[in-house]
Amino acid sequence: MSALLRVEDLQVSFATRAGNVKALHGVNLEIAAGETLGIVGESGSGKSVTALAALRLLDRAGRIDGGRILWRGEDIAHASRRRLHALRGAEIAMIFQNPRAALNPIRSVGAQIIDALRAHRSLSHAAAAAEALEALRQVRIREPERRMRAYPHELSGGMCQRVMIAMAMACKPALLIADEPTTGLDVTTQKAVMDLLGELTRDHAMALILITHDLALAAQHCRRVTVMEQGRVVETAAPATLFTAPAHPYTQRLVAASPTATSTLPHRDSRSAGPQLLQVSHLTKRFADGTLGVDNVSFTIAQGESLGLVGESGSGKTTISRLVCRLMDADSGEIRLGAANIGAVPACDFYRAPQRRDVQIVFQDAGESLNPRFTAFDAIADPLLRLGADRSRIKQTVAEGAIRAGLSPDLLGRYPHQLSGGQKARIGIARALASQPKLLVLDEPTAALDVSVQAVILELLDRLRAEQGLAYLFVSHDLNVVRMLCARLIVLQHGRIVEQGDAQSVFRSPQSPYTAELVACIPRFAL
C-alpha cells in the first residue's frame, strides 16, 4: 500500500521570547489513499501543529527544523509557494475547529464556495455557482438555493461547519484534514456532521485525518488512531487494540480518564435523602428578543443531593443556573432556598442578601471567570471579605480552602495567566466554597478542560460533596459526565423539561424521543 501522505521525523519549533520552543520532536505518520486516521491528544500535544506543518500553514513564529513531508512521494517540506498553492484546496483540504471564524463574515457562503472552486479550476461563474449549489446539497443543507445567499452569521454553528465541508470538498481533494471539526457543537449536531464526513469520504474514496481530543469520537470514525503527547507520537493502533490493550502508559491514562457509559465515581451513590434544600417552581424567563428561554420549569434538590441539568445549546440550562444563582431575574416563578423565597430579591440587590453566601457558582470557563488583576489568593479571599469572615484569620482560611480544592498554597501568589487550566478550575472551586455555601451551581465546570484534568476535577467535586454535605446543581451538555456525578437528572429542550428521573434509568431506557436521541449521539466505541 503506497502512502498518500507520509510524515517522517517531523520536527517543528516556535520562536518565542524564551527562545526556541520545540513543538514536535520527530513525528512519524502515514496515511494511505481512502484511509481514515485519527490523531488524538490533549492540549499542547502537537496534534494541530502536525496538521498545519503538513500543509505548511504554520504561522511566522513556527519553523520546520527537520524531517520530510512526502505527498505521493514528493517532499513538500521545502516546496515553493506556487507548488503549495496548487496543492492546498485542490489535493489537500482542511476544515477548522471554529467554522464561523474560518468563514469570511462579509461575504455570502455561496460566493465563498465559488471562490474556492474558481481558485483551482477554470470555471465560468455560472458553472461554479451550479457546482457550489450541488456542493451545498451534498452536505445536506436544507433549501440550498436560499442558503447560497446567506451570510455566516445567519447560519448555526453546525450549518457553518457543513459549509466549510462543502468548500473543502468542492475540488474533490484526495485528503481532508479535519481539526476538531465538531468541538463546540452540540452532540446531535456533532453526530450529523461526523456521519456526513464519514459518508462523503467513503463515497469519494477520500482520505481523512481527524484531529480530536475525544478518544471515543476518533475510535468511532477512524480505522487507525494515533495518540500524541507533548510533540511525540506515543502509539498508533486500531481503535479496538487501543481500548482493550493500550500499550503506552499515556494511552492507558487517557483511556482510563475518558468518561464512558460505565465509568463511576466513588461517592456518587452515597445519596443522603436529606431535607429539601431548593425548591424551584414554575420558573419562566423570556429574553429581550421575545424568545422563551425558560418555560415553566419546576424541580427540587435535597440537602447533599446532586441534580444534573442536561441539554444542548439554547435549552435554557445556563439561564436556569444564572436564575438559581440570583445573577439574573426571572419573569415569574419561585425560587425557595429553605424557607426563604430568594427569587423575590432582585438580582442586582442579592449581593447583600443573607442567602448570598449559601448559593455559589463554579463557572464554565475557569480562566475567563478569574479577574486577570487578582492573584489566586485575592480571588479566593474576595468572597470571604465580602460575605463576612474573620479578617484576622483570612490568610489561614484561604490556604485551607486552597488545599481542600487540591491547589498548592505555594501557587496562591500567582496570577491567572501563570496557572494551568486545571489549577484555574481549582481556584474557581475554592472561591465558590469559600463562603461555605449549601448549594453549589456547577455550570459545565469541566467543559474547557482536558479529559485527564476533567477526571481529577470530577473526583474532587464528588469528594467535596460527600465531605461537606453540599448540594449540587450540575449543568452540562455531556451526558456521560452528568451520569458520573449525579444520581438524578433533568433533560431540557427549548427551555422545557422533557424528562427527569434517576440517572441510570434515564440512560438505560429513555422515555422521551429527544433523550433517546441524545443518548444515541454520544460518541462511544463498541467493542
Binding site: L327, R373, D382
Partner: protein, 283 residues
C-alpha cells in the same frame, strides 16, 4: 502579572522598539528639566537686562536673549513647568471624571447611558479648540480656567473610551463571579472593571498629554491663556514671531522646539505603551 514579570515585559518591549525607548528617555529628561528647572540656569526668567537685549545664542545665553534681555533658555525651562503642570492637571481631571462616568455608563447601560451619550455627542459636535476658547473667554484668563477648559474638551474621549472598555467586560465571567462573591455594583466598577481598563486608558493618557500641551500653548498664543510676562511657550512663540522677519530666529526657535519635542515625545510614548499592552506581543 507579577511585578518582576511586568518589568521584564516592559524591558522586552523597550528593547524591541527603539523609538519608544528613545521617547521614554526623552520624556524623563523633559520632565526632570521641568522639575529641577530653576537649578539648571543662573538666570531669572523674569529679570530684564536691556543692555543685552536680542543677543543671538552664545556661551552665556545658550538660546539667546529676547527683546527685554531676558534669557530665553531660562524662560523656556520655566514655561515648561507651567505647560506640563497645566497639561497634567487637565488630563488627570478628565481621566478621573471620564473613567468614573464612562465606567458607570458602560456598566449600567439604559437611560443614563443614553443621556450621557447624547451630551457627549453635543460636546464633540463643537470644534474643540473653539470650545476651549469660548470657555476660557467666558471664565476668564487664568491658569485654573485653562485647565478646566482643556479638561472639558478632553472629557468626551475618556467617557467614550471607558464606557466601551467597561461595556465589553461587563458580561465577563469574572464580573459575574464578583457579583456572586457579594460585591455590589459600585465595588465591581471601581475595584474590578476600572483597574482592568486602566492599562488601555494609559495609552489615551499619554497621547492626550501631548495634545493638552499643544492646546494650552495654543490658547496662550492667541492671547487667551496666561498673561505676559509669565513665561509660557505659546506666548513666547507669539511674541517672538514679530522678530522673525528681522532675523531674530532664536526667540521662536527655542520654545517652538521645546513644544515640538514634548508633543512628539508623548505621542511616541503612547504608541510604545500601546505595543506594550497589546496582548499579541505577550507570547
Amino acid at each position: 502579572m507579577s511585578a518582576s514579570g511586568q518589568t521584564a515585559h516592559a524591558l522586552y518591549v523597550l528593547r524591541a522598539n527603539r523609538i519608544s525607548s528613545a521617547a521614554a528617555v526623552l520624556a524623563v529628561l523633559l520632565v526632570l528639566t521641568a522639575v529641577f528647572g530653576p537649578m539648571l540656569t543662573q538666570y531669572d526668567p523674569l529679570a530684564s537686562d536691556v543692555a543685552h537685549a536680542l543677543q543671538p545664542p552664545d556661551a552665556n545665553h545658550w538660546a539667546g536673549t529676547d527683546q527685554l534681555g531676558r534669557d530665553v533658555l531660562a524662560r523656556v525651562i520655566a514655561a515648561g513647568r507651567l505647560d506640563y503642570a497645566i497639561a497634567a492637571a487637565a488630563v488627570f481631571l478628565s481621566f478621573v471624571i471620564g473613567a468614573v462616568i464612562g465606567g458607570a455608563c458602560g456598566f449600567r447601560g439604559g437611560a443614563v447611558d443614553r443621556w450621557v451619550g447624547r451630551i457627549v455627542d453635543v460636546l464633540m459636535a463643537f470644534p474643540l479648540f473653539v470650545l476651549a476658547m469660548a470657555l476660557v473667554a467666558a471664565l476668564g484668563n487664568r491658569v485654573e480656567n485653562i485647565v478646566t477648559a482643556t479638561a472639558i474638551i478632553n472629557l468626551p474621549f475618556y467617557i467614550r473610551f471607558a464606557r466601551a472598555e467597561v461595556a465589553v467586560r461587563r458580561q465577563a465571567g469574572w464580573v459575574e463571579a464578583a457579583s456572586a462573591s457579594g460585591n455590589g455594583p459600585m465595588r465591581i466598577v471601581l475595584g474590578f472593571l476600572l483597574p482592568n481598563v486602566l492599562p488601555a486608558m494609559s495609552v489615551q493618557i499619554s497621547l492626550n498629554l501631548g495634545w493638552a500641551i499643544l492646546n494650552a500653548a495654543g490658547l496662550s498664543f492667541i492671547g487667551l491663556g496666561v498673561h505676559p510676562p509669565t513665561p509660557e511657550w505659546g506666548i513666547m512663540v507669539a511674541e517672538g514671531a514679530r522678530f522673525i522677519t528681522v532675523g531674530h530666529w532664536w526667540l521662536v526657535a527655542a520654545p517652538g522646539l521645546a513644544l515640538m519635542l514634548s508633543v512628539l515625545c508623548f505621542n511616541l510614548l503612547g504608541d510604545g505603551l500601546r505595543d506594550m499592552l497589546d496582548p499579541r506581543m505577550r507570547t
